[in-house]
Symmetry: C2
Subunit: 189 residues, 2 copies
Amino acid sequence: MFHHVDARFCSNCGHAITRRIPPGDSRLRDCCDQCGAIHYVNPRPVVGTIPVWDDQVLLCLRAIEPRLGYWTLPAGFMEVGESTAQGARRETEEEACARIELGPLFTMIDVPGVEQLHIFFRARLLDLDFAAGAETQQVRLFSEADIPWEQIAFRTVATTLRLFFEDRARGRFGTHTSEITATLPRPRE
Amino acid sequence: MFHHVDARFCSNCGHAITRRIPPGDSRLRDCCDQCGAIHYVNPRPVVGTIPVWDDQVLLCLRAIEPRLGYWTLPAGFMEVGESTAQGARRETEEEACARIELGPLFTMIDVPGVEQLHIFFRARLLDLDFAAGAETQQVRLFSEADIPWEQIAFRTVATTLRLFFEDRARGRFGTHTSEITATLPRPRE
């Protein structure tokens, strides 16, 4: 779910992969000595929103692993062919069945330990006809005082919520970058 | 270089790939009917900097395809295990042999047609000891009036430079999001 799986076979020709540093490169790559393909691996963008209704924020109770039973902002892996804004809107529809007006970029948070980049946009709920999507047990609105901080699914979500309430308190929203460093990088061989 | 290659074989077990919509999903994925692996594909982050010295901006003349012989800001694919900031700094060192103080996020530009997300940070050159890296023919500083707009390698770079000079002219730098839409999405089967 979180990490890519090391390639053992070439996805182009099916030959066994050799992990080596290609000429002119400085990193170990998944290389195919039969067809010459080099299979690069890159961090994956996760996109989501902070849907707001009056002074409340929408959160989703996760129905799937990881972090089943914890609360999250609607977010998920960006798909090829879509923009970050389209992906954030799609995830909000899929997880919370919610219609939003998408606002500006709010947080871009690196999570190098799991090879991800989390991107959240502010958003305004257009109505209260939200509902739990397939990967969600429950959707509800929370005032700042009611946020279940101990049951937030991911640290990027907690960071985004904390920054959101800080900016709201001072009456000015910015764009924030941050990094979650404590997760140990997965060893690569 | 720009698009992923459609998988024909499972990188986990070497069996032939079937392109189908997995249960509970809504998109065609590269699925393996032998080992059960689903090989997701996601857009790739490209990270770079706008290195500044006094009123000038550093550009690199590309020595490799694509866009060999065109000027670019130092930028490249983000590697697993690094943050956007680390990647932007690394690319600046690799392409321009330049030491920088990294500044704030400046642009995040979607390029869905090539399945990329381009991210540029402002930066301050610490000295003038820059030089062409392995993928660069020449590195030089340009004043705004001298920017070779017709020889800029990528539209995300031209957009970032234009926004940079606009912000500088009004004396206040923001964070900008944008999307390059004209490149047609590659058909996926």
